[in-house]
């Protein structure tokens, strides 16, 4: 009850005209950041942090968090329209969002993505409001073994649920792990797999790989067919938006499941990217339309977008209540709090009530404002599809080069982007899935760190991954996901025998 009273006070703070104005500005800037490849949410918030120094802390954090919501919304736009994920958590959205755009359903896909994003974020904010102390306590039980188990589950889900041959999925995933391992070893500080090239000291950034594999790879594939841009028939009006909204309630189960996955992954700090992949994988397995996933199924857009937003939003919970950021963007926001002299942690809720509840209220309002802004701009985004390919292709290529360069201000990264583009084209033509490769580049470092820290704690014994009920349950779920095709075949045969007996 006390939380609700505090929340109403928070709304009074967030609804002040100046705070509404910074909210709108933050969302618009965030959408731009989300659309531009190479400028992720964390980078965007970091770059714009100095803009907020002159503001009161509550207005500043409202603006920065709204940039974050805007970036979460914006990541879906390029994923759906051009198959270029603006953000890593938008990679899973490309699987069905882009085919939908190619089929002339860009508006449906964008509407579903934005609305699902809003639903996921709303669920997470309600969760933050009501169960913050409980969930934060649970997250404290996560050690390296539990973290590795979560990553293990995410990777195994991919191998078991992929429509491509399992050994091709494993090969692609392992290439991603190998690329993630290049450079300075974060535990021993030793160089590895650089083979004397100083440019490889920092390793391969997932954004370079994503821009190359997906952005350039898709343009090369499209060039095979000549200059016909296949998404050109998108027709947008309010009726499409309303029709899509009417169809969304039938996927309530997918949304609810994705919300729960997202919140769990956001709080435990696995983050929005594995949440979106896992949610997509499970939706594909469970849905009665699972066979159509990857061909332009709207459920394949709803699942990752809902989970990514739920995870992105709930990642702020451990940051506020424990001072432990659940995502890179939350880490930058944490830095902002420290700059303003606010110490995140349980005492923040006591000492800075107005700030905390103003921020939580702004999460409700910011996401609503974000949804209205992005939905009203759908016709503008979809109009891009009508631009001829011979104009849009070089612009995308230039934008990709800028995105790749701006990650580390390095022309070597631009060269690598082109190399990844050619690799992406060849792998895609040979039926190697690209998503597990990217997922492994994104999470490879963290998974390896958690694995090695676990082994260090157990003196090399793999028994650590089955040492308590929590980690054992997650690992067993991972093994079930890994061998799911074998298990489901066995179950089908057993049912067949029972039926014939």
């Amino acid at each position: 009850m006390e939380e609700l009273v505090n929340l109403f006070h928070g709304f009074a703070v967030a609804l002040q005209p100046f705070n509404i104005a910074v909210m709108v500005l933050g969302i618009v800037l965030g959408v731009i950041i989300g659309v531009l490849p190479g400028l992720g949410g964390a980078n965007g918030v970091a770059i714009l942090l100095p803009l907020t120094f002159s503001m009161p802390p509550t207005s500043a954090i409202i603006m920065l968090s709204c940039i974050y919501w805007g970036a979460l919304f914006g990541g879906a736009i390029t994923s759906i329209l051009f198959n270029i994920p603006g953000e890593p958590w938008s990679v899973a959205t490309t699987f069905d969002g882009y085919p939908m755009a190619q089929q002339g359903k860009a508006a449906e896909s964008l509407t579903a993505a934005f609305t699902s994003s809003f639903v996921g974020a709303l669920f997470a904010v309600i969760m933050i409001t009501l169960v913050a102390p409980l969930v934060a306590g649970f997250a404290l039980r996560f050690g390296p073994a539990e973290k590795f188990a979560v990553y293990f589950l995410a990777f195994c889900s991919f191998v078991g649920l992929s429509k491509e041959p399992p050994f091709k999925t494993i090969a692609a995933m392992m290439i991603g792990f190998a690329l993630a391992a290049v450079g300075l070893d974060s535990i021993t500080g030793q160089l590895r797999l650089t083979f004397g090239f100083t440019e490889m000291l920092n390793g391969f950034d997932f954004l370079i790989a994503v821009i190359g594999l997906f952005g350039l790879g898709e343009i090369f594939l499209t060039m095979e067919e000549g200059l016909n841009f296949r998404g050109g028939k998108a027709k947008i009006d309010l009726r499409v938006v309303l029709r899509t909204w009417m169809s969304l309630p039938q996927y309530w189960m997918t949304s609810l499941r994705s919300c729960i996955i997202g919140c769990w992954m956001g709080v435990t700090p696995a983050g929005a990217t594995p949440a979106s992949f896992m949610s997509y994988g499970i939706a594909k397995r469970v849905s009665k339309n699972g066979k159509n996933f990857g061909k332009g199924e709207i459920e394949g857009v709803i699942a990752p977008e809902t989970a990514a937003h739920a995870a992105g939003t709930s990642a702020l919970l451990p940051m506020l209540s424990l001072g432990v950021p659940g995502s890179p963007t939350a880490a930058v926001l944490l830095g902002g709090l420290l700059i303003w002299g606010l110490q995140p942690g349980p005492m923040l809720f006591v000492e800075q009530k107005e700030f905390v509840w103003g921020l939580i209220a702004s999460m409700y309002l910011g996401n609503l404002v974000g949804l209205i802004i992005v939905l009203t701009c759908v016709p503008i985004f979809a109009a891009i599809l009508r631009v001829p390919f011979s104009i849009i292709a070089p612009l995308i290529l230039v934008l990709c080069a800028i995105g790749a360069y701006s990650v580390h201000n390095s022309t070597f990264d631009v060269v690598m982007m082109l190399v990844f583009g050619v690799i992406g084209y060849a792998l895609k033509k040979c039926n190697y899935p690209l998503a597990p490769l990217v997922l492994a580049i994104v999470l490879g470092d963290k998974a390896e760190e958690a694995f090695r820290q676990s082994l260090l704690g157990s003196q090399g014994s793999l028994g650590i991954f089955f040492s308590n009920p929590l980690v054992s349950t997650i690992m067993v779920l991972g093994l079930i996901a890994l061998f799911w095709s074998v298990i489901s075949n066995g179950l089908t045969r057993m049912r067949g025998r029972t039926a014939t007996a």
Partner: protein, 165 residues
């Protein structure tokens, strides 16, 4: 010898896939080699730097061998792509390569202008006023958004230096 003309012939899917799989397998070998050099045993801080990637490399080699075996077992199926289609793809890859290679010397802006203009003229057959508007407009918008607004420096060449940008 095939009787098909050049429009419907091309490398077989099987041959290209076998080649790609072999390259992936060799990459796995490179990862194993690099890992062994970095150390794959147990050190003072636990598993050494090469421990994790060593097993990753082994997984790559094993899965590539299985993939190669599966590919070679298949019959000669469809072609990978027609020669004409591959020419189209390389008509973009090669200029993109030149664009990327030129960037450190002439800067991103001039390289982008030339690249966009080439693409629109050669592949799109647009007239010069439209080409000029887009190839000049894009770098200007890029400059304003990235360098002015988000303070992200992009590679510049002698022209930008001369203009004092």
């Amino acid at each position: 010898m095939t009787t098909q003309n050049s429009h419907t012939t091309g490398p077989t899917h099987k041959a290209v896939e076998a080649g790609v799989t072999t390259i992936i397998g060799l990459l796995g070998g490179l990862v194993v080699y690099g890992s062994v050099k970095a150390g794959i045993n147990w050190g003072a801080e636990g598993p050494k730097a090469g421990f994790f990637p060593f097993y990753i490399g082994l997984f790559i080699i094993i899965s590539s061998l299985i993939n190669l075996f599966n590919t070679l077992r298949e019959e000669d199926g469809p072609i990978f792509a027609e020669w004409g289609q591959l020419r189209q793809v390389f008509s973009v890859i090669i200029p993109t390569g030149i664009y990327v290679a030129a960037m450190p010397f002439i800067g991103l802006y001039l390289a982008s202008m030339i690249f966009i203009a080439w693409f629109m003229r050669w592949l799109g057959k647009y007239n010069w006023p439209i080409i000029a508007a887009i190839s000049l407009g894009m770098p200007v918008v890029t400059y304003l958004i990235f360098e002015r607004w988000f303070l992200v420096p992009l590679p510049k060449g002698p022209i930008e230096e001369w203009l004092g940008l």
